[in-house]
Symmetry: C2
Subunit: 395 residues, 2 copies
Amino acid sequence: MEEILSSIEFQMSLLLFIALAGYLLASRINQSAVIGEILVGLVVGPSLLGLITYTDFVRSIATMGAIILLFVIGFEFNLEDILNLRYLFIALVGVIIPWAGGYGLALLFGYPAPGAIFVGTALTATSIAITANVLKEIGRLQTGAAKAIIGAAVIDDILSLLALSLSGSLVAGTISALSIGVVLLKAFLFLGLGGYIGLKYISAFLEKLDNQPIGQKYPEFIFIFAMMIAFLYAMCAELVGLSAIVGGFIAGVSMCGVCLRHSRSIKEGAEYLYIIFASIFFVSLGIIADFKAMTPELMIFLGALTLVAIATKVAGCGIPARLAGMSTRDSLIVGFGMSPRGEVAMIVALIGLGQGIIDQGIYVVLVLMSLLTTVITPIVYRNWLYREDLASDAG
Amino acid sequence: MEEILSSIEFQMSLLLFIALAGYLLASRINQSAVIGEILVGLVVGPSLLGLITYTDFVRSIATMGAIILLFVIGFEFNLEDILNLRYLFIALVGVIIPWAGGYGLALLFGYPAPGAIFVGTALTATSIAITANVLKEIGRLQTGAAKAIIGAAVIDDILSLLALSLSGSLVAGTISALSIGVVLLKAFLFLGLGGYIGLKYISAFLEKLDNQPIGQKYPEFIFIFAMMIAFLYAMCAELVGLSAIVGGFIAGVSMCGVCLRHSRSIKEGAEYLYIIFASIFFVSLGIIADFKAMTPELMIFLGALTLVAIATKVAGCGIPARLAGMSTRDSLIVGFGMSPRGEVAMIVALIGLGQGIIDQGIYVVLVLMSLLTTVITPIVYRNWLYREDLASDAG
């Protein structure tokens, strides 16, 4: 029995069952499918029912899901859409203010400075997975606000990475202009080279393959090739210290213009993979959070930190967006869209825990803060900022 | 660096890269893509280059791949196509003769009786994954011979399961009519009930969902549901002691008539999953085999056992097929089609090793025999039995 419960078949069917339950719940409460999936994941996970735990298999599949998710999102963007000085401005202020907010709040709650530095760093990260998925769901990926969010989030990822390596150095007292420069250089090299090679060579190569005997004989060849590139880019992103999903995204952006005549569609195939694996990724976000480790004091800290996390991103990204000429509503969309911390903050928390700089309590708080900020964006979008759009779409 | 090499991104991109190399090799030597994938897997695996090992992640993904593979194959069959007394006859003789051949050969080579019983049992199993895939590749899944192979292989799986539990009991000396009856009953109950519920209720339920608000709101809902059923059936098959892939197959058969109007296509989606994951399954077959453990004596035993394995299936399935009225060529197609032992024999070997009944040497021989029988069928099909068909298809 034990053996069956740990089998791939059982875990896959359970994860997909949870995802389906999430859809039903989301449909009932009229929220994004993502919210339903996270909530049901929370219910069946260690927090409540304990039916499923965050096993290595779940982690592997969820990682794949997040990469495929951003790969699919990337298909809807051009590189020029994202590279923009305004977005740099939004991202920069949107990293500094949350960092200061998290650091200050942690000190206020009496945590030592090294731990507070990590709390601040966890607040800098933006995970675009959720926001991009909600925008995709409601058909608003091609708006100016969406482009600003994606563009700023990619830059944000670089800045968070910088903040992470800075906080390590700050804690260890070995900070230097050189170390900052190396981190920045690697990240920009990856983005620049990856985008350039992808757009200039890989796209052209795929189109060429499509007309070669190998592409005509095996219509699935190019699809396998494209997915390999997606994982390869994800790996390279990790190698330079960015999060893997940024690599998946850049791979998707690179291939968005590929036009195939004989082969299976890359976009369609990636979307089917996304249906299965991104669902599991969202479910896993619920599973990873374990409420049981919480004490009343930590609950208060969690509440305050979550408020600070959202307020500092809404202000830190929304105000620069407004200053850059966007409308108030679009600025709010950008602000709330940048709020989800997702798996990026969880990774920061994990590094802090591993280095002994934060304890188990703060670790759980950071994971749950990350989850809460992630849950709030789709709710705010559907019930406030995009409410009228959705009503007129449905009419 | 170590961390990156064990990351999901690296493993996925490497596995897909190997699959692509397999396609190129297969195209160059004019063989099935499966053969190319297995061979390249062998080259990069522990046997030669040692670039990739059979990690838990590879095993998980390969298991998923095998289930999805048979799920997709199942889509092309009706239950009535497979349930046929002729196929029972082919399967029955095709289990008894290989068992006797393997048992006799192992005794001849001086192995003790308990080990010889397991060698015989390993020779009873048929893995339809490879044969079905080759028939799909060359567009011959809808022929009478293909139906006989699939039908007999499903029954064969039940008989092999019976043989496995019998050999355990034989070695332990606790064999009884009751234990045989229980094994058979569970297997037939699963096939009967699974097929009946699938065809009668699940198909109808999916079509009903397609017209409900949830199906119309989320076009991906039914696809997730169908994949959940596939893994659930695979799990149930394992629970009753059949191999998981038989469950995936029955799930596919159950849904082959489902007609959806609003939702994403189950078949198309499953095929995209299959492109990625079945490729990885085939690559993994090459990775799992480790030539390095072989000694000259074991090499001779391996050669003899592989010949016996193929000869006994070709005779044991081919002669009954001929007697049942099939043409000589079709009977040979059935005989060679039933030869691959695939992962089923590897599982038998693993059980024998785990119980201490066979040693590491025989274990490796059984794994490699399994691989060799698997490699031979596509070669025989393409270069002999289906040679003229392929030539006229190409013309």
